[in-house]
Homo-oligomer: 484 residues x 2
Amino acid sequence: MRIHRAGLHQDTASYGMELEPSYTMLEFDSLRPLPEEAELVVPGPAPSLPPSSGSSLCSICADKATGKHYGAASCDGCKGFFRRSVRKNHAYTCRFNRQCVVDKDKRNQCRYCRLRKCFRAGMRKEAVQNERDRISCRRDGQGLGTLSISMLLQAEASTHQLLSSVGGIHCDTGMKKVAHVGDVCESMKQQLLLLVEWAKRIPEFCELPVDDRVSLLRAHSAEHLILGVARRSLPYNDIILLGNDFIIPVNGPEMEVSKVAARILEELVRPLRELDVTDMEFACLKAIIFFAPDCPGLENPQAVRQVRFQAQVLLDEATYEQRGRFGELLLMLPPLQSVAWQMVEQLQLVRLLGEASVDTLLQEMLLGEGVARAGAAAGPGASAGGGAATGQGAQLKGPEQGSNTEVFSFMSSGDPAMACGPLGAQEVLPNQFISVILPVPNSLPDLPLVPTQTGTEVYRPRQDPGMAQEMPSSMPIPPMHRCL
Amino acid sequence: MRIHRAGLHQDTASYGMELEPSYTMLEFDSLRPLPEEAELVVPGPAPSLPPSSGSSLCSICADKATGKHYGAASCDGCKGFFRRSVRKNHAYTCRFNRQCVVDKDKRNQCRYCRLRKCFRAGMRKEAVQNERDRISCRRDGQGLGTLSISMLLQAEASTHQLLSSVGGIHCDTGMKKVAHVGDVCESMKQQLLLLVEWAKRIPEFCELPVDDRVSLLRAHSAEHLILGVARRSLPYNDIILLGNDFIIPVNGPEMEVSKVAARILEELVRPLRELDVTDMEFACLKAIIFFAPDCPGLENPQAVRQVRFQAQVLLDEATYEQRGRFGELLLMLPPLQSVAWQMVEQLQLVRLLGEASVDTLLQEMLLGEGVARAGAAAGPGASAGGGAATGQGAQLKGPEQGSNTEVFSFMSSGDPAMACGPLGAQEVLPNQFISVILPVPNSLPDLPLVPTQTGTEVYRPRQDPGMAQEMPSSMPIPPMHRCL
DNA sequence: CGGACTCGGTCAAAGGTCTT
DNA sequence: GAAGACCTTTGACCGAGTCC
């Protein structure tokens, strides 16, 4: 570099360096470079070619110089010696009279005199920089935790294999059938089973207590369905592609379903498409959603929080090349949660209307019903937390001190007959309370699923996770437990 | 290299500038002014320092910048480093915790963190060209907009002034009164007015069309209330401190209210306290929540999205020195949304039970009712979007093609008398549909607000933003419009 | 036309690597 | 651990298009 103006700091006086007995390197600070002629070991004649290449000789040991280093023409040896000495703050001592000859042959015989000659030749310790990063290409994986992107991608790939063999590669929308309610439920069931399989491929998940595993699987399963369907629908416009190759058009016949589809397209598919989300990012998002420490009734929320932390750091590092990308991805989660809730409401409605048979797995995972084994150990863990009756099944919060006696209550101001209709056809679990309000069919109730054009709203409470404690152990095992 | 200039600062004892052992430690100099601010703060009076006037600081290492390079103001060193890294497709690895400090002195100590910071500062791979062909697309825009942390902090401070004079500094919980329903509503009203004032101090907000301003104010007002109360309650345990100095104890008499309080404490206050959230971070979070592009009926969602983008990048930059902090902060938003919805349900319930008079402002902003002027221009903009009947008022989505005729429908299987009771006492807006389900009072309905111990769930639809178009213009101006 | 900007490239002199 | 031959990275400086 050319900023060697620092060499201009002149202190006239002392080249007569006094030989202080102090043996720290501090003493060299006062040394000033001597005129080169005076210092050259081979001063005068310089037989062959000193004048042409003045920089060819090391001004410390007269070896061949490799350039100027730290302010003085020097060889690699003296360069390295000076750097090591300064970096490590070495304190040398001369065993003789500090008048040792320093040349190519004898330069290693006295470090004290060699270093002193470095300073005299003009080397400055300020020119030695801080230690830098290593150059070697050691590949060190993720230093944090055990969660890795490759593992997440593998888990994802393994659950997609089944899918790809079914769906094939035919992006032709026109070839696909429009899904009816039963198709949607069937697809959801498939996807939920895949979600369980996905989770089981994550070691961090398998190490959790079984009740926590169940809680996590139930907590945000709806969001996983929505995220999955949004991802699958990325290549298309105005349609949602289900896992079983059915589609839901935005302007389909079943209006309430199409409304959810429209929100998926507008609030999720479109921004995800604009971001051009990668598989890696999807995998991380999925894990971030899955390992939700706020999930009610968790025995060990801190463990879950740590896994989520690893996942979000993984996503951060996977996206750091684009400013703001990480934030934009995480900011997809609130609308995802919102859309997922709306979908659950639709499902609740469908079940109550008897439009389709809602599988017990869907009931347990999406509707938060079914036999409650999860949360059995919620006792002290959920102490201050949980609380909150949590309407709308937000995050599957269950009131842990709520009533155990729950009954179905259903009513429609428009058609009271509907109230009791579907209830008989489904299993009503003991101690289960589900109340639902149906929208008023006011204009065109021609479509079976759509009693009204306005919003269809369903209230969906959750089971009490604490009530399992009082349940007889002989009760049937819920479907999710059988999966695990 | 500029280490030569280091010679000017006379070193003390340690010439062997060893690595500071702390250089990988967290350093929270979060008050470091942003480069843009630094420029703006010293606008005019710098005639004496021409060299420092036009030049800013490198946004990566704070060395003197030589201009904008690849999208970020940077020094020649970071410029060259970025170019080499991109050209050679280097993949660096941090030997530490990926939180290395990157400044003028230490920028060469971790290439991973340096490159990461280059991206964070706004450098883009695409700006690195391989050959000598100039791509004419210069003037890439400002990169980041005009939103600044100082402005956000000012807006925050100005709305807190009123507050601090009221609340004073008495952390003695015992001295405060337990809030009743009316106190809670009163506090909410105060805070909502402060929210409006806060928004009006943000230039980006003021530049939006009036309908969009109203939409934004309504969209996430409940979350702002919850975030504010959580922040205010940070120093306390087991109580929630309202803005008007009342408190809500977790084990208070009004159980449903206390349940919300418990969720606030557990899901929001506790993690926020563990993070030790700063004012700056709160300010950014508030803006991120506020500028929600998914807000229904927005005339110009892209403008809102850009502001939110700026806000989240600001938060990212304010937190980048602590690994994972940005993600943890953003991951507070889903539970915040969830708790906010539950609070709105409680409010809905309170109003229906006639427990307290719910101000029209609360109705408009929190319950999404009242005169609908917002969304009047929703016509083409909300085309594909919105859709979705959106139960539970998720993000205030309103069905834009839904029915305009909405009626109250209410039912309780336990106490039918309650169904019609409160409805008479409240104003039923025209074309309004509100259906609410009340929990079954099964065990101890002794508390007025708490009909049941189980979850209290309220269904809360929103008004149709599109219906305003058909409304006569002579209708009364809603309270929020008067504020603006 | 000319100065401000921001690309690309250069290469002395830093750094690190690795065998002896 | 030190020495030093050998290779990589850094960044100050410069030229060249482009746009005011």
